[in-house]
Amino acid sequence: MGVLSWIRRHLLAFAALAVLALLLVPNVVVAVFSFNDPVGKFNYNWAKFSTDAWAHPCGSPGICESLGLSLRIGVTASLVATVLGTMVALALGRYQFRGRAATNLLIFVPMATPEVVMGSSLLTLFLMLGIPSGALAILIAHIMFCVSFVVVAVKARVATLDPRLEEAAADLGATPAQTFLRVTLPLAAPGIAAGALLAFSLSFDDYIITNFNASPSSITFPMFVWGAAQRGVPVQVNVIGTVVFLAALLFVIAGQVLSNRRQRAV
């Protein structure tokens, strides 16, 4: 009886743990198999423990070049998209202008369009404009779809901000630029950071749109993994996958700690 009621009381915790486990098992498998020394080309069966891949993460030809390209595109695309998206979000959230409703609607189009459609139509566009397939084309495409996500993230934050705060800043003698830097930007920062991180991870793992617009000299990390999967996946893929997962985890935890501290201070 005591045991049954104990279980009943903690049912929610069990369910949460089960879901969490389901979500994390693939990552655990990836991490575990990064220590494998596989027999043959495929890293699907456990053979024996080895730290070879961790010692030589660039040991597979092309893997680190592709990782570098993905990081460069990811950082550039998320930076540009964050700046543009933040401006769009502030304009939508703070000002009345002609075409505001249309902008509000159109901003969702890149998110709603299937990637296959977007990738192929972008390729057509780039060919028409004479922009060669490759890193530049990929970057432009990534900026394009990342902007929407940044706009949505920042706009949600801006909507919760009291417009009186900006009026108060102006009232206290702050120029429009000072108001933006000292009041609007710091208050919108959590939304901007969330948008930037989202943009980076969307850019970093995009495959379909990237593949349409890539050239043989612009192989991103997801393309490398996809290509490798046809011929045999090197253990280094698991190593890099694990590192990326841990980095993402670190960001999320850091964000939580930061916002908790802020909550406590507030």
Binding site: R164, L165, E167, A168, L172, T175, T179, L187, A265, V266
Partner: protein, 370 residues
């Protein structure tokens, strides 16, 4: 001395604000003397906040001019004006601590002593010990005082208060009213206080402008507005009034004008009657009416329909033979109380009545009071 005083007066000339569908502020002329505590009083939607926002530079007037002293500020932006506002929602910056909030204005104009001055301002509002806290950690009353310190510290030419006590509970509000008055006297700045609370305006302000539907109905000190309202709106919005429709029956004699109300002869002080009016509203404040005959020569007879005892006073509703109920408030001075159903005489002196043009609605300003 006189020259420096007038140089700081706030002058509004023909100030107008029209929105797409309505006129929020009709052309308004107003001079607010430097160093005064001025209240804009009126029901919500009367244009008082719009007026305030135009002075702050947060709203662009459709027409008209704004001067502070000899300087015209009509076309300057909010951040260029030496005018500060205490917002109704306080609008404290949540990401800055209390001290940083108060320093904000000083830092924008590059004041080297910003921290020292901000700390002094916090002492002025008795919040020196919470300088390092974030606004959200403070109670509503404390946030209100931070907002006040943040504005006062800049020593603005004009300090605007937009319903600053609206979010506080009654007890705190009374306390802050006294506090605000003290601070205004201490720093000697011009305060313009926007409120819909007539008691708050009367407690604090030297001069009150009663606004209704985008216009100033009457301007004056609290006692004048209360004793000699110029319209039924003011009579009802500032306190309560009993209004009787009366006909002037003859010329003034001994400073009193004879009138009749429902065949009863009454008198009103001659200087309380507008011009040569024939039909007027005769108004008497409830506390000026007396139960019994010792109030004065004006007498009406009626039946007590309701008695409510409030401690310091008793409020009666007395039904007149023609159906209207008059409100009578009697101080709790130890005399006996009338009971419901009792036939009573109520009386008042001629100088306690005021007369208003009968063309106005008797209930103007009644609903809005709040």
């Amino acid at each position: 001395m006189a020259a420096t005083r007038t140089s700081g007066d706030l002058r509004l000339a023909g100030l107008t604000k029209e929105f797409d569908t309505f006129t929020a502020v009709h052309p308004m002329d107003l001079v607010i003397p430097e160093g005064s505590f001025f209240a804009l009083l009126g029901p919500s939607g009367c244009g008082k906040t719009t007026t305030l926002r135009m002075v702050a530079g947060l709203e662009q007037p459709t027409a008209g001019r704004i001067h502070i002293g000899d300087t015209e500020i009509t076309d300057t932006k909010a951040h260029q004006r030496n005018v500060n506002t205490v917002f109704q929602s306080y609008a404290l910056f949540p990401h800055m601590n209390v001290l940083e909030n108060v320093e904000f204005g000083l830092r924008r104009r590059g004041d080297k002593n910003a921290t020292v001055k901000a700390k002094e301002a916090l002492e002025l509002v008795q919040l020196g010990e919470v300088a390092k806290k974030k606004p959200a950690q403070l109670s509503g009353g404390m946030q209100q005082r931070v907002a006040l310190a943040r504005a006062v510290v800049n020593r603005p030419d004009v300090l605007l208060l937009d319903e600053p006590l609206g979010a506080l509970d009654l007890k705190l509000r009374r306390q802050m009213q006294i506090e605000l008055k003290r601070i205004q006297q201490e720093v000697g700045l011009t305060f313009i206080h926007v409120t819909h609370d007539q008691e708050e305006a009367m407690t604090m302000a030297d001069t009150i402008a009663v606004m209704n539907a985008g216009r100033i109905e009457q301007l004056g000190d609290p006692a004048t507005l209360y004793e000699h309202p110029a319209s039924t709106f003011v009579a009802n919005f500032l306190g309560q009034s009993n209004l009787l429709k009366v006909t002037v029956t003859g010329p003034a004699r001994n400073g009193e004008v004879p009138v009749t109300a429902y065949d009863t002869a009454l008198t009103v002080a001659a200087d309380h009657v507008p011009g040569d009016a024939k039909e007027v509203w005769l108004g008497v404040r409830p506390e000026k009416l007396r139960m019994g005959e010792h109030g004065g020569p004006n007498r009406l007879h009626g039946t007590v329909s309701d008695v409510s005892f409030t401690g310091v006073a008793t409020q009666y509703l007395v039904r007149m033979p023609w159906g209207k109920e008059l409100t009578v408030v009697q101080q709790n001075d130890g005399s006996g109380r009338a009971r419901p159903g009792e036939d009573v005489t109520i009386s008042w002196a001629a100088e306690h009545g005021f007369a208003l043009d009968a063309a106005q609605a008797a209930d103007a300003g009644v609903e809005e009071e709040g």
